[in-house]
């Protein structure tokens, strides 16, 4: 496989040499490791890397992947980190407009306005910065002589990867992990890992989220060794019978490597409920009926069971241990009302961007834990991962905290159909363009495969503000066909009504007034209604929430919403006049055009202090308790 720089230009190339998406389960060599949540199969490559910044592809160091490359001129950078926050390139905040607005005239590849003239749009652009990363690493002893893959948990926005001079592959989709098999080229010592990150590619058309536009390796980089027999993928499908309060467990397991014994145990929070032994195979399907009544998982009582799988040699020596937390719950729609475990679901939700005022979208475990605690203490019971998949650990936290998740696919093309507030979809991406379909469907697949085992995920969301067309319709069909245990959400179909019957299980709107909601619900509604965004908490806001909460009493099919949003996106930088650290926003960095303070819409300030409005949220979200 020979890398081509023109891959940046076409949506047809988005995933070269990557391993297939799979469940996010962790695996360990021993139970002791598992108890400490420290797997000897993992080696972090976070830390100091060598780095070179180039303003465009033409000026990048093209041969830096070669093992004899002299990196004398390279700087150092900390990974993970946005390149802008490391001191290169410009901070730029912009909302719906594409970031090249006023700088470049661009129309998406394969659209009516650009059928075949897109080569070079990004690869030959005068401004499309490149970060060239180098890391030399030795393999930890525990990882040696094993199959080893590398996982990039988040790289924005397009990336080429080489190991020891060999090209491994190419990835887009900034917010889902990209994995490559290192094994054929790996050495025990002095490996030469080269990663070339481009700020923009054709993916920029479908990653037009309302946030600071950063690039670089902004989430963890991890080596993952695999024992000779390994569980590649796990799908635990717990079924909950609401009337009988009984549960069934369906397992779909995919192993690689030699055939081995697999011990299965299943526990509630006190007792072993059953154990079994299987034989590993590329595909294993297993079904269990639970004898005792099960405790259902829900917000007030996030009861989790534990499935443990141990891969053993014939002699019974454990070589891999996996623990998967399992929640029994049932989400369904009856008579246009969403029911969770047989009871009407009320969404007291919030949208959440990942944010830290010093490190941007590179956030810490402590940030994440704070966010979940803040939700719990303020009666917030649901979160929409606006508008991309979050760090893997956030889904675990929500399982354990009982926070309902709307797991959103990394898709937003706001600037392709809405201009200055008006709907104008003449070149909507992906719209109904077949050429964009594989890239977009792949994002849906990654989102599903990664998070399919999380009881907290009640909704798959197709993305945000991307209008609608046949591609969104196919995404909807993908999720429906793949997963009968969850609902599909999409809001944009509200404006493209011809897709109403084939996209989204719920009627979702954003910022609809209480009267508009009543108008929908009073006129033969076909679907339950939620607000995927409401109560826009910009600055001093969040007045009038009562009018929305009152609707919960008036309409069974009105089932709440997600406040926009959780945390202000402001950057702490030093004010050159006062020397004090201060929160800055769009336009404060000569970045134009900008949407200025429009990134300050959170229930908490960027510094993670609650805004005064939070007590109102706590009150109204607590009224149904």
């Amino acid at each position: 496989m020979i890398p081509e720089i023109e891959w940046l230009d076409t949506p047809a190339v988005f995933r070269e040499g990557q391993l297939p998406a799979h469940s996010d389960h962790r695996y360990y060599a021993t139970e002791a490791e598992m108890a400490l949540q420290k797997s000897s199969f993992e080696q972090s490559l976070n830390g100091t890397w060598q780095f070179s910044y180039s303003p465009n592809a033409a000026s990048r160091p093209k041969n830096f992947f070669q093992t004899d490359f002299d990196a004398e001129q390279f700087d150092q950078i900390t990974v993970p980190q946005h390149i802008e926050l490391a001191g290169y390139d410009q901070f730029h905040y912009i909302n719906t407009m594409y970031p090249w607005e006023g700088h470049e005239y661009r129309r998406p590849a394969f659209s009516e306005f650009n059928q075949d003239n897109f080569t070079g749009m990004f690869s030959a652009a005068e401004y499309n910065p490149v970060g060239s990363y180098l890391q030399h690493f030795d393999l930890d002893p525990a990882l040696q002589n094993k199959r080893v893959i590398i996982r990039f948990s988040g790289v924005e926005q397009a990336m080429y990867v080489w190991l020891n001079g060999h090209f491994l592959g190419y990835a887009e989709d900034s917010f889902t992990p990209s994995e490559f098999n290192l094994t054929p080229y790996l050495k025990a010592e002095d490996n030469h890992l080269a990663v070339e990150v481009h700020k923009r590619s054709s993916a920029a058309f479908i990653e037009d989220q309302d946030f600071f536009r950063f690039f670089g390796i902004f989430r963890d980089v991890t080596l993952l060794a695999q024992p000779e027999t390994h569980l590649d993928d796990l799908w635990v499908i717990p079924e909950y019978d609401v009337n009988q309060q009984t549960g069934q467990l369906n397992l779909q397991l995919h192993f690689s490597g030699a055939t081995r014994r697999v011990r299965v145990t299943f526990k509630d929070q006190e007792n072993l409920l059953f154990s079994d032994e299987l034989t590993s195979a590329p595909t294993v399907e297993q079904h269990y009926d639970l004898e005792q009544p099960v405790v259902a998982w829900q917000n007030e009582r996030p009861y989790l069971y534990t499935l443990q799988l141990e891969i053993m040699t014939d002699e019974g020596q454990v070589i891999e241990v996996i623990q998967q937390l399992v929640g029994f719950r049932k989400i369904e729609i009856k008579d246009r009302v969403m029911l969770l475990n047989g009871e009407r679901l009320i969404i007291n939700g919030v949208n959440r961007h990942e944010w830290n005022p010093k490190t941007g979208r590179t956030i810490s475990d402590a940030d994440e834990a704070w966010d979940v605690d803040a939700m719990l203490r303020n009666n917030i019971n649901a979160v929409r991962t606006s508008h991309y998949p979050d760090r893997l650990s956030f889904y675990d936290r929500c399982d354990q905290a009982g926070i309902y998740m709307m797991a959103e696919t990394n898709l937003e093309s706001h600037g392709s159909w809405q201009k200055m507030g008006a709907v104008e979809p003449s070149w909507n991406v992906p719209g109904s363009m077949n050429e964009w379909e594989p890239a977009v469907l792949d994002r849906a697949k990654s989102n599903f495969e990664l998070f399919k085992n999380h009881p907290s995920v009640l909704f798959w969301s197709l993305g945000n503000e991307s209008y609608a067309g046949s591609v969104l319709e196919k995404m909807n069909a993908y999720y429906k066909q793949r997963d009968a245990t969850r609902l599909v959400h999409y809001e944009g179909v509200f404006r493209a009504t011809e897709y109403k019957d084939t996209i989204s299980d719920v009627e979702s709107r954003m910022y609809a007034t209480p009267d508009e909601i009543k108008a929908y619900l009073d006129n033969s509604p076909k679907k339950p209604f939620i607000l995927c965004e409401y109560m826009h908490d910009m600055g001093n806001s969040l007045g009038g929430m009562k009018s929305y909460i009152d609707l919960l009493q008036q309409y069974e099919s009105y089932q709440g919403g997600f406040i926009w949003d959780f945390i202000d996106q402001g950057l702490l930088v030093e004010d050159p006049v006062t020397g004090q650290s201060e929160l800055r926003y769009g336009g404060d960095f000569d970045d134009r055009p900008s949407d200025y303070e429009f990134s300050g819409d959170g229930l908490v300030f960027a510094t993670r202090e609650e805004k005064p409005a939070m007590q109102e949220v706590k009150y109204y979200y607590g009224t149904d308790k």
Binding site: G539, N540, L542, G544, T607, A613, E616, Y620
Partner: protein
């Protein structure tokens, strides 16, 4: 508080009306258009004469729904509305305004049981309207302040209405009985009733400085200050001045800045150094809204109709 059986000493000056009692000395000016001095327990509480206030620093939602475009004239009114007339009543009886030479009839030992001074302000709006503020002072030093806005057809919705006191130095703290946190008419259900102490003069750190710090449904608020500007005084104890609701709860904000100072800053670092205490005792507050930040107005119940009268009163005591 002094004993209640005493009388006020009244000083019929040429430019001001002085009122004295135990531990207090008030000066009401005919020239500055309002009280010029509240000196209590040796400490001055006024920097400039209190004036009606009509403006709040534009919130993000206000900007989005073009409220300041529609109601901009209240910004001018907040800055430039002026005193039109003053009247005085002694023991409930109106008297001719005791300026020279009318005041030559008085002596150096005048007393009264109750003195009312009423200031009428003319707004700089088109059309214009009036606000009357009446101070009724008792021998104890307790003062009732009655504020009356005259509704006027054709005036745009008000951002806020109240009386703004600017004190010479920053407060050390304030305490109040009302609702927890920062509350607005359409965002106060979550406020928990109680007595609260606030240290300093916090400005809520919204990304762009904007109106903040309103406390609805307040029974009383006491402002505590220590520092004074009087060059003779080296050491002063912290003392408080209490503003107490009468009949209906009041709303207030206590900030180091005027609405205009907040209005002009794009970041907190651009705000001036904190020198004063700006206390607004409010009779009407516009809600903040929340449906969106690009057009939806505050719900109608929480807008302030400028075509209707607004009246409220409160006591000042120490």
């Amino acid at each position: 508080m002094a004993q209640t059986n005493k009388q006020l000493a009244v000083i019929y000056g040429d430019v001001t009306l002085g009122l004295k009692g135990d531990d207090f000395h008030y000066i009401f000016s005919y020239q500055t258009g309002g009280p010029e001095s509240f000196r209590i327990q040796g400490k001055e509480w006024l920097y400039r004469s209190p004036k009606p206030t009509f403006w709040r620093a534009t919130t993000d939602n206000d900007r989005g729904n073009k409220f300041p475009v529609k109601s901009a004239m209240w910004l001018g009114a907040d800055q430039f509305s002026h005193n039109q007339s003053v009247s005085v009543a002694i023991n409930g009886q109106p008297i001719d305004l005791p300026i020279a030479p009318e005041n030559n009839r008085y002596t150096d030992h005048e007393i009264a049981e109750k003195v009312e001074i009423s200031y009428t302000y003319l707004t700089t709006t088109v059309p214009e309207t009036q606000v009357t503020v009446t101070y009724t002072v008792e021998p104890t030093g307790k003062m009732n302040v009655a504020v009356a806005y005259k509704g006027q057809k054709g005036l745009p919705s008000l951002p806020v209405f109240g009386l703004r006191f600017i004190m010479p130095t920053t407060a050390t703290r304030f305490s109040y009985q009302g609702l927890s946190g920062e509350t607005y008419p359409d965002r106060m259900a979550g406020g928990i009733p109680g007595q609260y102490d606030v240290q300093g003069l916090p400005v809520t750190p919204y990304l762009v400085p904007q109106d903040c710090g309103i406390h609805m449904q307040t029974d009383w608020v006491t402002i505590y200050r220590q520092a004074v500007l009087d060059n003779r005084i080296r050491q002063v104890p912290e003392t408080g001045l209490k503003f107490s609701a009468v009949n209906q709860p009041i709303a207030f904000s206590c900030l180091p800045y005027t609405a205009e100072e907040l209005e002009n800053a794009t970041h907190h670092s651009e705000l001036p150094a904190e020198h004063r205490t700006v206390l607004s005792i409010l009779g009407a507050v516009r809600g903040v809204g929340g449906i969106d930040s690009w057009g939806s107005d505050v719900e109608s119940d929480y807008q302030i109709d400028a075509e209707k009268d607004i009246e409220y009163q409160f006591d000042i005591l120490f």
